[in-house]
């Protein structure tokens, strides 16, 4: 990868990678540090990384660094179940997008990452499997569980309304 190709990667993928890290960590400063770290790694390994696979490389680096970081700091709780908080206790009912954002925050870190890789970046199950290091079956099962939890949250809000 040349310097120009690297700069093209910054132009194309920096925003998406930052959004992915921000939604996952929910910390802007951490997200920016992770993005910077991922691009530094890409620059160091630019001679070994092909421009066509640079995006996958960036997301892989950022994802694993994020996992290491959150495990150390224990900021993110791995919860398999949605909290029992009722929607009526959170004030005025926001729009669908805001409700979905709230539901996304209630997913565990792995599920949230898979949903974002799927919806924001459009990766296939196979590509997500490569990025996250999970098996294809794990990706599929975790994604399906995440969708069902999100759907249940939306249904509960709709029921309340």
């Amino acid at each position: 990868m040349t310097a120009d190709e690297y700069n093209d990667c910054v132009k194309q993928y920096a925003d998406g990678l930052y959004r992915f890290m921000l939604k996952t960590t929910r910390q802007a400063e951490d997200a920016h540090d992770l993005v910077q770290s991922a691009f530094e790694k890409l620059w160091e390994r630019r001679k070994e990384v092909n421009a066509a696979t640079a995006k996958s490389y960036l997301f892989t680096i950022a994802y694993h660094k994020m996992i290491d970081q959150t495990r150390k700091e224990r900021r993110i709780l791995f919860a398999d179940k949605l909290p029992e908080t009722r929607a009526t206790e959170r004030g005025p009912t926001p729009g669908l997008k805001q409700v979905l954002e709230q539901a996304l925050e209630r997913l565990n870190e792995r599920q949230r990452s898979l949903v974002m890789l799927k919806d924001y970046e459009g990766y296939s199950y196979e590509e997500i499997s490569v990025i996250t290091g999970l098996s294809l079956a794990q990706v599929r099962v975790n994604l399906h569980r995440a969708r069902i939890q999100l759907k249940e949250y939306l249904v509960s809000i709709e029921y309340v309304l």
């Binding site: 310097a3 120009d4 690297y6 700069n7 910054v10 920096a14 925003d15 990678l17 930052y18 959004r19 921000l22 802007a28 920016h32 993005v35 910077q36 691009f39 620059w43 669908l96 997008k97 979905l100 539901a103 996304l104 949903v115 974002m116 799927k118 919806d119 924001y120 296939s124 199950y125 994604l143 399906h144 969708r147 069902i148 999100l150 759907k151 939306l154 249904v155």
Partner: protein, 291 residues
């Protein structure tokens, strides 16, 4: 595998994630039409798909590497280098020009002659220029070269030809070929034997001061009593750069004094006291009028 009411959820999830083949997608859509009670569940799963936000990475410029980040210092250094180069070239041209002036004026028997208005100056031999200062106005009825020769032969004329006549007679054909401004020339008006042919002093008004600024600059036509110096290069088509004359008074300012010393050192002594106080020094395209 065909879709049914026991396994439809897996098909619905893969339909939302776009992980089904075209055939399976069509199978799911047909199944929903046949089971409308499950349509709402499919719609709710569709609503779980996230819509990308317009989130921009802050300080993205810091991530760029390579040439893009070095662009600013390169431009800065290029500007400095261009300035230094321009100064060096200007200095070299100035020094080289002064050197040429000194060499040219040290050549024995050679000096530059300004041509008539609108024409380029020509180099002629001093030996072929015995003309004494005479009134050189555009006089009506001026003799043709042939008539001048006849007058000289008859003893009515002291000199065979005036310089203007020689020019017309083809004496200075060689000078005409090289008669272009070289950009640097020095003109000394001291001495009758070195006076340019086109410059003549009005003998009827010897005490009149010559004009210091040529009409080429102020675009005013020369008066009849102005000496030839004021008429030199007074063509409308004359380049303003060529005709521009800087006036320095050697007695009043240090620049003029320095140029006056330079001119005295490089020029042979003047023989005509009337013109001893006036010297010209051409630097580049500028003619400096010295006192």
């Amino acid at each position: 595998m065909d879709i049914n009411r026991n396994n439809y959820e897996s098909f619905f999830l893969r339909w939302v994630d776009c992980e089904l083949s075209a055939l399976d997608r069509e199978q799911v859509e047909n199944f929903v039409r046949q089971n409308p009670d499950l349509e709402k569940e499919l719609v709710m799963l569709q609503h779980t798909v996230l819509v990308p936000n317009d989130i921009v990475c802050p300080d993205k410029e810091s991530l760029y590497r390579g040439e893009k980040r070095r662009a600013v210092p390169l431009i800065w250094w290029t500007g400095i280098a261009a300035g230094v180069l321009a100064l060096l070239i200007s200095g070299w041209l100035l020094l080289n020009g002064n050197k040429k002036v000194l060499e040219r004026n040290n050549e024995p028997g050679q000096h530059l002659v300004k041509a008539e208005a609108g024409a380029a100056p020509k180099r002629i031999s001093a030996a072929a220029d015995p003309v004494q200062p005479e009134t050189k106005q555009e006089q009506p009825g001026r003799l043709a070269p042939a008539d001048a020769k006849e007058q000289f032969a008859a003893g009515r004329r002291k000199t065979p030809l005036r310089i203007e006549d020689k020019n017309a007679d083809g004496v200075q054909k060689q000078a005409a070929n090289i008669g272009k401004y070289s950009g640097v020339q020095q003109d000394l008006l001291a001495g009758t034997d070195r006076r340019p042919a086109s410059i003549a002093i009005d003998a009827s008004a010897p005490a009149q001061k010559p004009a210091l600024v040529t009409p080429a600059i102020n675009h005013q036509p020369p008066s009849a009593h102005q000496p030839a110096l004021a008429r030199a290069d007074t063509n409308e088509n004359t380049d303003i750069g060529e005709a521009a004359i800087l006036i320095f008074n050697g007695r009043d300012n240090p620049v003029g004094a320095m140029l006056n010393k330079t001119a005295k050192a490089s020029m042979p002594p003047a023989t005509d006291k009337r013109d001893k106080s006036r010297r010209h020094l051409n630097i580049g395209l500028f003619q400096v009028d010295l006192k």
